[in-house]
């Protein structure tokens, strides 16, 4: 190597180091429900935007990205406060619509907790004109007090609970592994399921908690082996605005 060549090699190496590895695809800005994401579309994959559900697809292989809503007590509390503000503004229908979009039975830690809170929930949800605003305000207050006093389920417990929405059948499938990690600077759980007898039909899921809402990235149709690298890259490059 000549004396002149050395600095240029060093500069190139420094520049490469500063820029970091390049993504194995294209990073797009994607609004998945409430989540504003930097999402990697791996090379050879297509991106479909369907509001709360996005899909990455290559031939039959699919990676689904979905906003599961506020499946935490903190998220539920935030939405109940929002519904109350709408109610106070006289927008009863909008308030109802916010509450209707929630899944309180799945969010409360135990069925007993939900049973205790449900009378207030129904009064707030119905918000009948003949009630006047007093009892409805009271119902919102009781509900918010109950929510603030309860311990939240862990992210792992919530992830396990929602698996059934994606066709997980505990009689047929097992959870093969669970790992608590950070994805895009947010708490996350990586979870793999498989067929209990054969360990085939392997599916990876990544649940990320973002501002009280749960985002899931999961393998849909297709062979696990063919999707694994793409799935891992999408998770690794996920970025929240």
């Amino acid at each position: 190597m000549t004396r002149h060549a050395l600095p240029s090699v060093l500069v190139t190496a420094l520049l490469l180091g500063a820029c970091g590895p390049s993504p194995p695809g294209v990073i797009v800005r994607a609004q998945v429900g409430e989540h504003e994401l930097g999402l990697l579309v791996p090379e050879g994959w297509q991106h479909f935007d369907n509001d709360r559900q996005h899909r990455l697809q290559r031939e039959i292989a699919r990676i689904e990205i979905e906003d599961l809503g506020p499946l935490s007590l903190a998220g539920l509390e935030r939405e109940v406060v929002r519904a109350r503000e709408l109610f106070r503004d006289g927008r009863r229908d909008d308030a109802r619509s916010v509450l209707r979009g929630l899944d309180p039975a799945a969010t409360f830690p135990t069925p007993e907790d939900w049973k205790a809170a449900s009378p207030s929930w129904w009064v707030a949800l119905q918000a009948k004109e003949e009630f006047g605003s007093g009892p409805i305000e009271e119902a919102y207050s009781r509900l918010l007090t109950q929510l603030s006093e309860l311990p939240d389920k862990s992210l792992e417990d919530r992830a396990r609970q929602v698996l059934t929405r994606f066709g997980h059948d505990s009689a047929r499938d097992d959870i093969a592994s669970v790992e608590t990690v950070e994805v895009g600077g947010r708490p996350a759980v990586l979870l793999m399921t498989w067929d209990r007898l054969s360990h085939a039909q392997r599916k990876r899921h990544c649940f990320v908690e973002n501002r009280g809402n749960l985002l899931v990235l999961r393998m849909g149709l297709g062979q696990h082996e063919e999707m694994e690298t793409a799935f891992e890259s999408v998770v690794d490059w996920l970025d929240f605005a």
Partner: protein, 264 residues
């Protein structure tokens, strides 16, 4: 350069060794060991490596996994558990019940008793039948004691039921007939030539294996089944395919180990 026969011979030997050939051939290639749990007794083995796709296997009272050679003539390796035997084991159910019964409602308690009772039309051995009747008698005692609020008596009865359940031990000879390969059980028995069963040992337990050949579509298939009992569970390893893949099946079978199971 002119090569002598000796030099050619030496080169051929070196290449054979380098490529894993030579006398005896190369060892079949297996994937890393995997643990499966189909019932109360886990089993670990190394599956075939690439070129075999897997699927769930559930038929004839057996549940497990089947590996099918891709692009072949219908070759398969299956490992499974004969669950009709394993599901009779009450040791875990009784241990859990002993821990929980005092926190259950009376309705749930009686429902669980009914579920744990051992009511079968046939028994694998006299030993099983005798001990099962002790389990059932003690469960009846437990039930009556609960109904009359005699909780100390109830607990004692449950402990005796558990002791009796733990004493039930199935041996391979008692149970293997349920799954043993016989030509006469097949729809076309005249296609099969079945050898005498051979006794052996697998993962420290007595085992039995049956080999056979089957003529179909102008082709000779080789078949082999290996049976082993561990912790009251009967496991069956099954191969059907070309003779050249029998060593692979044997290697999969030899990789079997049993981690501790329920009540061990």
């Amino acid at each position: 350069m002119q090569w002598s026969r000796v030099q050619f011979g030496l080169l051929a030997s070196v290449l054979l060794v380098a490529c894993g050939g030579g006398p005896g051939g190369s060892a079949p290639k297996l994937a890393p060991p995997e643990e499966f749990r189909w019932g109360g007794q886990p089993i670990t083995f190394s599956p075939p490596s690439s070129g075999w796709r897997r699927q769930r296997d559930q038929h004839g009272g057996i549940r497990g996994v089947r590996f099918i050679k891709t692009g072949s003539v219908g070759e398969g390796i299956a490992i499974g558990e004969y669950y009709q035997l394993g599901d009779r084991d009450r040791c875990r159910a009784l241990a859990e019940f002993l821990e929980e019964y005092d926190s259950l409602s009376r309705k749930e308690t009686l429902r669980r008793v009914q579920k744990i009772r051992m009511g079968y039309m046939s028994w694998f051995s006299d030993h099983e039948e005798r001990l099962a009747s002790v389990v059932n008698e003690q469960l009846d005692e437990f039930r009556n004691a609960v109904i009359h609020g005699r909780m100390l008596e109830a607990e004692r009865a449950l402990e005796l039921a558990q002791d009796a359940a733990l004493e039930i031990r199935h041996e391979l000879d008692d149970v293997v007939d349920e799954v043993l390969f016989r030509a006469e059980d097949r729809t076309d028995p005249h296609f099969y030539v079945v050898e005498e069963p051979v006794e052996g040992e697998l993962a420290g337990e007595p085992s039995l294996s049956v080999s056979y050949t089957m003529e179909r579509d102008r082709r000779t298939y080789s078949g082999r089944q290996v049976y082993v009992v561990r912790n009251n569970r009967l496991f069956v390893a099954d191969f059907i395919g070309l003779a050249e893949n029998l060593p692979l099946f044997d290697a999969v079978v030899q990789s079997i180990t049993f981690p501790p199971g329920d009540c061990e």
